[in-house]
């Protein structure tokens, strides 16, 4: 059932569902090892253009696939993701595989351990194909900040896939993996998922452990899945979520049965539509697609409520201060001592730090380190960093109050569809505004799912963001599934 699909020349191809593949593997109709080889063939054909994978972990993947095929042949019980080909954003570490974080400063680094999300995927039977391109240290909204070149959007290869997890979104859109992991600090899963027409999940802060994640902004960073449909994304989240003693911010709350919850009827659910997300700056075709999605929720029996989140416009300024301040501290560890690039021009310890960092970091990373250092420096701390943290509380409390009256909040994921490569690279502020609808949930710690809700007249996908309260993933999946179902997916 897969073989013929995988030989097609088409760049854009919906992956088979996890359930279909797993069933085929369990029944002996598909060998996990053959499936992996088919994916590697597809990667070999399309990666030169798309630049999705930075490195392949083929040996490890085929060993894992063989570990699935053996019990499958004997009819034994298989893991929930048995044989499913998955790609990993290159900010999560895999033992013995290069981990670059899209940066030249980590070129050649092979970490000696696995991230928790990675080991949980493998324990569930997933076959990890390789490490996926992203903006340097997950800083960017277009994947153009990677030291290893941009990723192209499979829907239109002259356009960006979004960022920072652009490669993870493009991989699913081009069927170079059935599902992928990404990370989201200010929109880095949701915005690329929207641009590439796939499903992306921002789990609640603390829901998925970050052990083994190369940190960008620790109070915001989250690990989450991309998939071709809502049910698959929910299944992957079930596997990677849950308490981990190695992450002090990890939640002990039990993990929900998200995939089952995604199938529940949405009748009677109260959906909030915040007017601030539909104002100036929203592309008219994006608005139309999102409104179609809202209409489908109403048709499915949801109660649509117009709400106001009046602090929304302050989210981008607050976010870029908090995130850069934390980044300036987190990225201090890249100093040429323990791993990564060391300048050959250094003459003493101090020049080694400076030159290694100057040579290793790209312009956006330097810009953010400078902004964050400035915001934390003596004399400016109160005006910038502290102020941003105060506004962060206002934004978070505003969401908590809103969720007292609605079960979910629905917005556009991004103000536009995918933009052209190079369009915003010279204007960092314009690039930051691509995150205008996503940074709010990041600051508040709440969860969300982005689901395709239509296309523009030129065929570019549009995503709808479904936000739910802390640990309300089940509700977010349920609403997203209703939107997906209305498009007869």
């Amino acid at each position: 059932m897969m073989g013929t699909d995988l030989t097609t020349e088409t760049l854009v191809e919906k992956p088979a569902t996890i359930a279909t593949l797993r069933e085929g593997i369990a029944a002996g109709a598909i060998l996990a090892t053959e499936l992996a080889e088919q994916y590697y063939a597809r990667i070999a054909a399309h990666n030169p253009l798309l630049n999705v994978y930075l490195s392949l972990t083929k040996e490890r993947a085929l060993e894992q696939a063989a570990r699935v095929d053996a019990p499958a042949a004997k009819g034994e019980e298989l893991g929930p993701l048995a044989g499913i080909p998955v790609g990993i954003k290159d900010v999560l570490v895999m033992q013995g595989a290069p981990a670059t974080a899209g940066s030249a400063i980590l070129k050649g680094y092979e970490p000696p351990y696995d991230a928790t999300a990675v080991s949980r995927l493998e324990a569930a039977g997933a076959v990890l194909l390789g490490k996926i391109n992203c903006d340097e240290f997950a800083m960017g909204s277009s994947n153009e900040n990677s030291a290893y070149g941009p990723v192209r959007n499979p829907i239109d290869t002259e356009r960006v896939p979004g960022g920072s997890s652009g490669g993870s979104a493009a991989a699913v859109a081009a069927n170079l993996a059935v599902a992928t992991l990404g990370t989201d600090t200010g929109g880095s899963i949701r915005q690329p998922a929207s641009f590439c027409g796939v499903v992306g999940v921002l789990p609640t802060y603390g829901r998925v452990p970050r052990f083994g994640l190369i940190a960008f902004a620790s109070s915001l960073d989250r690990v989450g899945p991309f998939a071709g449909n809502v049910h698959d994304a929910a299944q992957v989240l079930e596997v990677i979520a849950g308490f981990d003693a190695n992450d002090a911010t990890s939640s002990q709350l039990p993990v929900g049965d998200y995939a089952d919850q995604s199938e529940k009827d949405v009748k009677g659910l109260r959906i909030g539509i915040p007017e601030e997300y539909f104002g100036e700056g929203l592309d008219s075709e994006v608005r139309k697609a999102v409104e179609t999605g809202i209409a489908s929720l109403e048709a499915a029996g949801c109660v649509i409520k117009r709400i106001s989140l009046k602090h929304t416009k302050y989210a981008i300024p607050a976010y870029y201060l908090v995130a850069t301040a934390e980044a300036s501290a987190n990225l201090a560890r890249f100093d040429g001592v323990r791993y990564g690039h060391r300048s050959s021009k250094a003459t003493n310890l101090s020049s080694m730090y400076r030159l290694s960092r100057e040579e290793g970091f790209g312009p956006e990373v330097k810009r953010r380190i400078l902004l964050g250092t400035y915001a934390l420096s003596a004399g400016y701390y109160d005006a910038y960093y502290k102020k941003a943290q105060q506004v962060r509380r206002l934004l978070a409390e505003e969401f908590l109050a809103a969720f007292a009256g609605v079960d979910a909040i629905v917005t556009p994921t991004a103000p536009t569809a995918a933009f052209k490569l190079g369009e915003k690279t010279d204007d960092p502020l314009a690039m930051y505004l691509a995150d205008i609808y996503t940074v709010t949930a990041s600051l508040a710690g709440i969860c969300g799912v982005t689901v395709p809700c239509g296309v523009t007249s030129s065929g570019l996908p549009v995503g709808m963001q479904v936000l739910a309260a802390h640990f309300g993933e089940g509700t977010a999946f349920r609403v997203a599934r209703a939107v997906e179902a209305a498009q007869s997916v």
């Binding site: 092979e110 000696p112 802060y205 603390g206 109070s219 003693a245 002090a248 911010t249 990890s250 939640s251 002990q252 709350l253 416009k313 302050y314 981008i316 300024p317 607050a318 870029y320 201060l321 300036s328 201090a332 001592v337 323990r338 791993y339 690039h341 060391r342 003459t347 003493n348 310890l349 080694m352 400076r354 960092r357 100057e358 312009p363 330097k366 810009r367 380190i369 400078l370 902004l371 250092t373 400035y374 420096s377 400016y380 502290k386 102020k387 941003a388 943290q389 105060q390 506004v391 962060r392 509380r393 206002l394 978070a396 908590l400 960092p428 502020l429 508040a444 710690g445 802390h470 640990f471």
Partner: protein, 112 residues
Amino acid sequence: MGASAVSVQVSLEEVERVAELANLDLEAEEKPRMQRDLNAILDYVAQLNELDTANVEPMSQVSELLNAGADTGHGIALRQDALRPSLERALVMEEAPETDGAFFKTPKVIER
């Protein structure tokens, strides 16, 4: 977005000072570009001053918000202070630019 009273213009010297604090040795041609970008961003973030936050506690982590809310028993829990296995030294040292097997080596700290 109206820049308000607190909007500051960062000078080239300040860019250099912040770069020094951040252990970055910017190339000469990078500095004016960074100055331009920082000023554009700081001008934009100045709109935060429209909000009166005199009585708002800064929020550095959402975990505290969650613990104060309906959900409890997650986040910010301290782990037990107990010995646990750590990574093998040899594996870690393999990734370093320069070591003697037991320690990381760096260029000299104090110049004669």
